[in-house]
């Protein structure tokens, strides 16, 4: 699995309020919500983003509200991957749970420039900046998390596990 596209570059502490402002949270519809993706930090993002593009950011990406709408709109816009120096923990969980690929790589996040053509291999964690020719290696996911991703998200992995059968037959 891989993605390839141009990089959109942002600074540290990109919060979920600027990713999807709360004024639009009166609907759970991902398509409708995605029209406002990154609106309060980059009003042109939705117009410029193409399938496979990559968001590159600094520390603590996705901080603030737990709204799953944030990774959901990034994914629905066609963004192929988010690379950051670090992620806020709820955003990290949410991205895995809904199947938005995210990678932590400090050097790549620092060096990749806005507009660079980037190719990311999710199986190996290799990030290639095709514009500069430089390669970076991101930390691979722990096996437990890889299982969630390969199952197609948390709920599918849950249905597969025997743990689920036990709790599900519990008399309620």
């Amino acid at each position: 699995m891989y993605t390839q596209g141009k990089a959109f570059k942002y600074a540290d502490n990109v919060d979920t309020d600027v990713i999807i402002p709360a004024r639009y949270l009166n609907t759970p519809d991902a398509k409708e919500l995605s029209l406002h993706c990154m609106e309060d930090i980059d009003a042109d993002f939705v117009k410029r983003v193409s399938k496979g593009d990559v968001i590159v950011a600094g520390w603590n990406f996705g901080c603030g509200s737990s709204r799953e709408h944030a990774p959901l709109v990034i994914k629905t816009c066609g963004t192929g991957c988010v690379i950051a120096k670090s992620f806020a923990r709820i955003f990290y969980r949410n991205a895995i749970n809904i199947g938005l690929p995210i990678l932590e790589c400090e050097q790549a996040a620092a060096e990749i420039g806005a507009g660079d053509e980037v190719k990311v291999n999710f199986d190996t964690g290799e990030i290639k900046d095709l514009t500069t020719g430089k390669s970076y290696q991101a930390q691979p996911f722990p096996q437990f998390i890889q299982h969630i991703i390969t199952s197609g998200g948390l709920l599918n992995s849950l249905k597969e596990s025997s743990n689920m059968k036990e709790s599900y037959t519990k008399d309620v």
Binding site: N13, D15, D17, V18, P21, A22, R23, L25, N26, T27, P28, D40, I41, W59, N60, C63, G64, S65, S66, R67, E68, H69, P71, L72, S86, A88, R89, I90, R93, N94, N97, I98, P142, F144, G153, L154, L155, N156, L158, K159, N163, M164, S167, Y168, K170, V172
Partner: protein, 417 residues
């Protein structure tokens, strides 16, 4: 090496003798919470995955609090989705208009959460309940859906930072000044993925409302959870309130902490977080030249009875400055009722404020106090990100109820006497 308080609660809920930082575990949940924004997404995922019942109807809590009474048709649809799901699954703890409150003020008040619990909530401020000696953390809607189906959640066991509290707060300071001071010191990702464990001789001087406020904003330092030890203050609060028997956990004496940060409560002064990050703190006394258009006193951070009392003590018999709009939002219907019975409601109106029924509304720029371009608000809420309360060129300054009320009278940011 011993375990932290958080690790002990997680070990007990994972059925393990011992856990250590970094370990991945599956833990049994005592409460799974959602609100009118996050629950509709969880319901869709729950149904899409083919689940047809919740693991325990007494352990699922749904509170309509963000956009109720509904601000528009779409918000009404979202509330309807929650209402129908709660009805279909006979959810015991479903809180609709008339008996709802802001979730993190409501759940402790109603005794739905208690000491020793393992709780997830599809709202980032679910970390509030650590004040009661519970492990409690915010998650997204898919985690909520999985929690409702299975009654379990996966966690990476966190390491911890210990905050050793000593001394006692000055009368014009509160828990809000403590947590803003801490965030100012360690930064908005200073506790990323970690527990913030509050200990020390200063703990007993803090009221439960102060502790709830402090744990509430642990997420603003990036933390997984904030937690206080269970003491006489906790037990007095839980007495006659807790619907389940509290279970007391304490950190081992030889528990490992990443670091220990000393906080002398006696040295804390009224602080304000300037736009656009909660870490941009400075003393309120340094901001007397900052004029304000709006004041908000309320939210899951500061909508409790002590917060209302603090505002009343300052506003009673006084007038809010010309050109300033002051919005006061008691956190639950019970707190609202107390405000009425004690005459505080009337005092707020006489001072020139408006009083709303419980809602998260203005905190996240939803409704009930949205800011226009160039406007400035001092607010007892928890976030001051770009556009958080309205226009992207509006500004939010975070402060305690004391500081916000004093500023409402002055028309500019200032500390209470």
């Amino acid at each position: 090496m011993g375990m932290t308080m958080t690790q002990k609660i997680l070990a007990a809920h994972a059925g393990l003798e011992k856990v250590e930082a970094g370990q991945l575990i599956s833990a049994k949940l005592d409460i799974v919470l959602g609100n009118d924004i996050t629950t509709p997404v969880a319901v869709r995922e729950f149904e899409k995955a083919g689940f047809d019942r919740v693991f325990d109807r007494d352990k699922v809590v749904i509170v309509l609090d963000h956009f109720v009474p509904n601000k528009d048709i779409k918000a009404a649809q979202q509330s309807k989705t929650c209402r129908e799901f709660a009805c279909t699954h006979c959810v015991s703890h479903f809180y609709d208009v008339g008996k709802m409150g802001i979730e993190h003020a409501l759940l402790p008040e109603q005794g739905i959460v208690t000491a020793g619990d393992c709780i997830i909530g599809a709202d980032s401020h679910t970390c509030t309940y650590g004040a009661l000696g519970a492990f409690s953390t915010g998650v997204g809607s898919t985690d909520m859906a999985a929690g409702m189906a299975a009654g379990t959640a996966w966690f990476k066991v966190p390491s911890a930072i210990r905050f050793n509290l000593t001394g006692q707060l000055a009368p014009n300071c509160s828990g809000k000044d403590v947590i803003l001071t801490i965030i100012g010191r360690i930064g908005v990702d200073g506790a990323l993925y970690k527990s913030m464990e509050f200990t020390g001789s200063g703990v007993r001087t803090l009221s439960m409302d102060d502790r709830l406020c402090i744990c509430n904003m642990a997420i603003e330092a990036g933390a997984k959870n904030g937690i206080f030890p269970v003491d006489a203050v906790t037990m007095a609060y839980l007495e006659g309130r807790s619907k389940r028997k509290p279970v007391v956990f304490a950190a081992d004496e030889d528990a490992a902490y990443e670091k220990v940060i000393e906080i002398n409560l006696s040295e804390i002064v009224p602080v304000v977080a300037k736009p656009h990050l909660p870490e941009n703190t400075c003393p309120a006394a340094a901001l007397h030249d900052i004029r304000i258009d709006q004041v908000v006193i309320g939210s899951c951070t500061n909508g409790r009875l002590e917060d209302m009392e603090a505002a009343w003590r300052i506003l009673n018999g006084k007038k809010i400055a010309d050109g300033v709009r002051c919005i006061i939002i008691p956190g639950t219907m019970q707190i609202l009722r107390e405000c009425v019975e004690r005459g505080w409601y009337t005092a707020f109106i006489d001072a020139g404020a408006v009083v709303s029924t419980p809602t998260c509304g203005p905190c996240l720029g939803g409704y009930m106090g949205v800011l226009a371009e160039g406007e400035r608000c001092i607010s007892t809420t928890n976030r001051n990100f770009v556009g958080r309360m309205g226009h992207t060129r509006s500004e939010v300054y975070l402060a305690s109820p004391q500081t916000a009320a004093a500023s409402a009278l002055a028309g500019y940011i200032c500390e209470a006497e």
